[in-house]
Structure formats: C-alpha cells, structure tokens
Symmetry: C2
Subunit: 484 residues, 2 copies
C-alpha cells in the first residue's frame, strides 16, 4: 500500500502530534495475525435468530472479551434476557470519549446449498483482479468490519502503549434478529455507555475507491401474519372450490399491499413521511449514481418501485414493504393435493424520517383485518420496530473523521444514506442524545444476508488503517459533554 | 353384525346358487387375521412422491404379491419406469371377468407433528361410540379399502376353493403422485388387463349407513410455477422498493386466478364445461346434502366458491383451481430481511366433463405469462393431467352391484360424484372402453391426505362382506365382451 498521500499533509486540519505512521506500519506488518483472528471469529456460527445457536452466540461474545482484554480493555460479557452483550472500556487522559458499536451475531445461512463452501469454515479466495475475498457468513456483516476497529486499537496499543482517546466498546448479539434485549440492558447499564460520539462500522464504501459516512438509515418494522381457514388440511378434490384456501387468501392480502406504481397501498402509510434531510438530499444528486448498473449487478433491468422517485430515493428516503418469506401447504417433491389449513408470511417495512413504527403497525393490521374474508383467522406477530435515524452532518467529529478518511483514501469521502436499519443509532440518539458516526468499508457486492457473503482483504486492511487515522484525528476534538 | 336381512331375499334379482352365507361367516370368523394383514401392510411407508421411499414402494408391491399368491392368484411385481405395479389373475370357468384396481402408495405425512402417533405404526383406537379407528397413513386411502376386496376373495377361496367369477387385479404405486408410469406400462402390457368391467374401492360411503357408487370424477391438472427475479437473495434494506420481489409477484399472480365470486378467472376456463350427466344431476337434489354440516365439520361456515352453484355442485361438477403449496424466502424462526431470488407455488386444477387438460394448461400458462412484470422469469412444471370421468349409470354390472349392496346394508345405495380424481378410470375407458364400478367404504371424516388418517373397523368388515356379495351377484351377469 502506498503511503505517499501521508507525506505532504495538505488538509487545513493539523495532524495530531501522534506517531500515526508507526502505528500504520505496525498494522501493515501484523496484517496476517489480524486476519487469523478474523478467521477464528468467523468460524463461530453465531446465528442469533435461531435459538439452537445460543451457545455459539455466547462463545462469540467470550471470544471478543478475550481479544479486548489482550488489547488492554476492561472487557466483560454481560448477560441479557436474550443473547449476551460485550462491554469494554479503556480510558485515556486525553481527547474525547468515543463508544464503538458492532454486533457479533450473523444472519442464517439458508439456502445452504447455494454456498460454495461451509459458511462457517472461512476461506480466502484469490480473485482474477488480485483482490482476496474472505468468504464466510458474517465476513462483512459485521465481524470483519467490527474487527477493523479492534485491530486499529491493537496497533495503537502496540506502538504507543495506549490509545489516542478514551474508547468504550459495545457489541450486541441480536442485531440480525431485532435487538430485543437491548432496551432492557440499556435500562440497567446504559449510563455506562455514555460517550461523546458513537462510532460504528456496519456500513458501506461508496465505491471501491471512495469512502463514505452514512448519515441516514431507514427504520424497520417486522410483522408475521398467519392465516388459518379450515381446522385441518383438506383433500383438494373433496373440498376444492368450496373450502376457503388460506394460500389464496394470503396471496390476495399481499397483492393488496402494493399499488400499480409500486407504492405501498396501505391507507395513510405515507402520511407522516418527512422530506429527507437537506444535506443528504443535496448530496444525492452529486453522487453520480448509476441505477442501471446497481440493478444489473443483481440481474435486474428496471426498478419495481414508484417511478415518481429515483432509485436512490426509493432505497434510501422512501419507505418500503417487502415480503421476506412465505410458506403454506406442501412444497416438497411431487404434489400433495391439499387445501392447507394455514399459510404464513413474513413481512418487513423500511421506515423513513417521520414514520412511527407503532402507527404503521396499527395501519397494517387494520388493512389486513378489513380485507379478511369469512372463515379466516389472522394471527399477527410483531416485534416493536425502530424509527429511521438521521445523523447530523455538521458536527466536528464528522469533519475530523472525513479528514482522516481523505488522508487514507486520497479523496474526499461522501455522505450517503442507507436503506437498511441500524436500530442502535436511533436508540442511542433518543436515550442519550448520542450522535453517531457510521463509517464502514464493505463493498456493495459483499452479499450481506445472502449465500457466499464475502469481505475484501483490502477492505479489512484499509479499514484498520482508516480507524487508526480517525482515532488520531478525533484526539483533536474537544470533549464537549462527557469527556473522560 | 345382524345377518337377518339375508334371510328373506326380496330383491327381484335372483341370488346366485352360491354359498354366500358360509363365505360371509368365514370372513366374520377370520376378521382378526384380516386386520393383522392390514396392520402389516400399513406399516410399510410407501410414499410415492418422495424418491427416498422407493424401496418401501417396492416392499409394498412384493407384500401384495405374496398375499395374492396365498389366495391362489398368479401374481407378480412388474417393474415400470417409476414404482412397480402388481398384476394378478385368477381365471374361473363361470361368470364374467372383472379387473380390480387399487393403489398401494400413500400420501406424504407432513405435517408430522400433528399426528398423534407414528403414521406408519398403525394403532387401533376405540371410540366413545363403540367404533374402532385404524389410524395410519393409507389406512383408508387406499390400503384398507384395497384389502377389503382381497379379503373377500380369500373368504370365497377358503369356503369354495374358487372364486364365483374370473378376477384380475391391478395395483399401482403412483396414484398419489400422478401415475406417470401407467401409460408406459399399459402400452406394453395393457392387453393383459382387459376385462368386462373394472371394480375399484377408492371411494366413499354416502354416510355411515348408506353405501354409494361413484359415477363421476373430476380430472386433475398439476402445475408448479417458479418465479425468479434477481440472481440472488437481496438485502431488503439495500434494495427494498427498487428490486422486484418474486413473492409479491407470485401473490399477485395467484390473486389473479380467482374472481370476486370465487370463480376461476382464467380466460376461457369454463368454455368447454359440459352439463353434468343427467343421472347424477338428477341424483344431486335427492341426496338431502347438508352443506352447513359438510363445512362445519372442518371448521368453516360458508362456501368460498361461486354462489351460483350449490356446494355439492362446486365440489363435484364444477372445475376448481387450488393452491396446494407455496414457498419463498425465509420462514424459519425470527426474521431474515431478504428479498428472495425465487418463489414457487404448486397449483392443481380439478377438471370436469368436457375440459381437456392440455387446453387448460395452455390457458393457464398464457394467463401467467400475460401478467408477468419486467425482470421476472417463470418456469412451469406440469405433469400431463387427466380428464374427468363419467361412469355409465345404466349397466347391468351397476344394477347387480347395487342389489348386492342393498343385501348387505339393508337400504338402497345412491349414485354420487367425486371431487377427486382416479385417473385410471378415464385411462381404462379411453384405452379399452372399459367401464368402472367404483364402490368404496370410506367415511367422509377419514382424513385422507391429512394427519391422523383413519379407517373404521366397520368399514373394513362391511367392505369385505359387501365385496363377497358383489362377486356373487356379478356371477349372474353375462360376459358381454371378453368373458373368460
């Protein structure tokens, strides 16, 4: 990696009098050891949504605590009503106090048959362009990204014996399954996590060459609906036509959720939607986003969304309703000529600024109930949901972090939105007024939540280097509120 | 069982000079041995639609051959391109020649957790009303029913050393999975199955006290459609709104298959539908059918079908379109926030007189293709299908069989329709001009294709006795065409 961009500092912000170059060199020299730690971390199948993997979630948390203790953190596993969290602190005499957030849990791996190898036996795969892919569930989301920050701290500690600023860490194990234990944990121990700003790394680069800070996230509302008609599966010959078919009913209900232009057709769904934050709105046009390429990469040629909005608006600043799963009757080999008793669908809404999950849930349930034919019962299973989050794009922390990114990447970073949800961002803002600074190094082709998830070795390496520089730059910020 | 109804023959048809009473007595005396054979037969998990059970299908066929050989039949297992068939012959010097058809294969058992016991470990369960239920997959459909005929032959052989008429038997192993090997087998060996009339026992009593001959069957057309959008599962945050969701597409397509009144909304679907056979049409009104009770028994209160037709017409003489299964995305524990790449549905059509499966398949495919949005590919998987069958209700065989049923049940039998399909009926009629005589002893609550399928011990017992009488009565018929 060329370091020439460091030799002539041209940024108006003065570099801190810290041995940044030595720390970067240390990280470069120890990259293989960092990678070995990542591969070990990835081999733990910490799938949070499936209760069978609870011991593996515990194992991942314990593994993190051991690693953090090795870097000098006061680290511990904390039990919750669900999977445990990891909390770690390393207080320093100078600079502000940052909280770094990540999650050690991962998505399920289904469909397993589409993986080229065991998703929990991580493999390095050299690519034709010279890049190396780290292939495993969680490689990018979020174990690889999370470790970039831990390894940056390790390099600072190795070279200087300390960190440039005070750092706390908070890793949860339920990000992929609704973060249901977080509220309870924060009720009890939240004060311990107060800091000046929260850093997180669960986000994307803008492209391979340009880093990004993500300043808006959509919220998430999850709903499962189960439709029951007859009290048992029926022979489709004996009852066909006369018996209400719950798959047919469910299909008609799902069909009613979207209008002809791709808009969500639930009454009042858009009532409270606010215009996107001006900063982000302004940035969207500058990003030179190519929607055709975005869609073509996944085998699509045109947007399914509301034509009144650009594709970038559709995925960042407009709310959505997607069916994530459906099941009913018999779908194995051959045909089973039944009218099933039940059918079920998993549905999730992505929410934008202004939308309240509880209100949307109520409107959704009302929409379904109003359309339910005779002889059908519906069971709703929801899980609370989270609001959208808008990050203030004018803070000193953001300005310093972007300066650090410019030093490492040799170009200006961009401000972007995210269609996904990081509920902790809105939770920490509403509970403690804590702003976030989401900087991630994932590429758009990393196959998050899909088979053959990967993280580029260069993302891992430049991610570590970027955080080394960010930590140095943040040491110039005043600790405005809770400085250590 | 009271036999007094036999003591004073009042039917205008003279009873054959055969020792019917002794044969009935033999069957009564040996009921426990007959039952033991049925329990052994039921313990073989001959699920035909799942290739994993191919050895068990072979085992069921071999078991039948051994039993038939024990009754004096020249019986053999014949291999096909799928599961084997069983063919057996016992020629006698007198009477016509009947072919008895049945199937040794069974439906899958899913959902297994709803069974009160292992579906292949048959249990006898005494009921509060004194009835005994034989609970197992296939107890009624069709192993129990099939054996009523075999055991009737056994009793005749035991008492008289012969059968009253010539009997061939033909048992297939793919009735529950589309009978795909039958055509090939009949091409090669069909001549061997020519007879004067085909008997079968895969049908129902009208009610606990009144036997029935089923004179119309709906045909069956099976279709699977798989919708593919993106080339992989996508993160619903990153792509939600913009990426076409195959579950949403499939739901909209399914929704389009039925109109507001429950009618099938495929253009031209009803074009070729003929009025139901006059005999059956006339019988429908006489049957004193209680649609409310029919629906209430399975937890429903009103018909989902076209109100212009009675419930009995909806399930017997009107064609239907039912979704038998649907699957897509993630439906395990928790939520997986994906837009899946694919979704699939299994759909079956019940066809009535006049409808051609090939034409309906073409109309269905055209209906789907015409509604497919951009970026969707559809894969159709069909399996040929069968036409509806109408049995001539005026034959001498039918008249004699009904006389026998009246002797056993002490009441007139009724002529009924069936919403289900027995493809062999239409196949044998079109290939060899062979009429059928479907007489079954299943009750409507036997849970065919569902968990906890059962056969009443009284169905089994009176079924054996009924066939003993039918064989005697048919000995009075002239062998009009192929008599032995």
């Amino acid at each position: 990696m060329s370091l020439k961009d460091q030799s002539v500092p041209t940024d108006p912000i003065e570099a801190a009098p810290l041995p940044v170059e030595e720390v970067l060199h240390n990280a470069d020299e120890n990259l293989n050891a960092s990678l070995d730690r990542l591969l070990r971390f990835l081999s733990i199948p910490s799938v949070s949504c499936d209760p069978h993997y609870a011991p593996q979630c515990q194992e991942a948390a314990s593994w993190l605590v051991n690693e953090l203790a090795g870097v000098g953190f006061d680290a511990s596993v904390r039990q919750t009503c669900g999977h445990p969290v990891v909390v770690a602190h390393k207080r320093e005499a100078t600079g502000p106090h940052v909280l770094f957030y990540g999650h050690y849990d991962v998505q399920p791996v289904e469909p397993l048959e589409e993986w080229i190898a065991d998703p929990f036996d991580p493999k390095l795969r050299l690519q034709p362009d010279g890049e190396t892919h780290i292939v495993a569930r969680g490689a990018s989301d979020d174990k690889g990204q999370l470790l970039t920050f831990v390894e940056a701290c390790r390099a600072w500690k190795a070279v200087t014996g300390r960190l440039p600023i005070s750092v706390s860490m908070f890793f949860e194990g339920e990000e992929e399954s609704g973060s249901q234990s977080i509220d309870g944990f924060l009720d009890e121990a939240g004060q311990e996590l107060r800091a000046d700003v929260m850093l997180l790394c669960d986000t994307y680069l803008w492209n391979d060459a340009i880093p990004a800070v993500t300043v808006s996230f959509r919220g998430l509302l999850e709903q499962e609906i189960e439709i029951t008609c007859a009290n048992r599966d029926l022979h489709s010959g004996a009852y066909g036509n006369a018996a209400r078919n719950p798959i047919q009913v469910l299909a008609e209900l799902i069909s009613s959720l979207r209008g002809k232009n791709g808009e969500v057709a639930i009454e009042g769904f858009y009532d409270d939607v606010k215009d996107p934050d001006e900063d982000l709105g302004g940035e969207l046009g500058k990003l030179n986003f190519n929607a055709d390429i975005f869609l073509k990469k996944v085998g699509l040629s045109q947007s399914a969304g509301d034509e009144a909005y650009s594709v970038l608006e559709q995925v960042w600043t407009r709310p959505s309703c997607e069916i994530n799963g459906i099941a009913g009757g018999y779908c194995g080999d051959g045909l089973k000529t039944i009218i099933p008793s039940k059918a079920v669908a998993k549905i999730s809404f992505r929410l934008v600024a202004g939308q309240d999950p509880e209100k949307i849930e109520a409107k959704f349930c009302e929409h379904i109930r109003a359309r339910l034919p005779a002889d059908c019962r519906v069971k709703f299973t929801g899980s609370g949901g989270s609001k959208a989050s808008i990050i203030c794009s004018k803070s000193e922390y953001l300005r310093r972090a972007r300066a650090a990114l410019k030093d490492e990447w040799n170009c200006e970073s961009v401000l972007i939105g995210s269609g996904g949800s990081i509920p902790i961002v809105s939770v920490m803002q509403s509970r403690f007024g804590l702003d976030s600074l989401p900087i991630g190094f994932a590429r758009s082709d990393n196959r998050h939540h899909s088979p053959n998830e990967k993280y580029d070795l260069s993302s891992f390496h430049k991610g570590i280097r970027s955080w080394i520089r960010v930590l140095a730059q943040l040491s110039n910020c005043d600790s405005s509120r809770f400085g250590s």
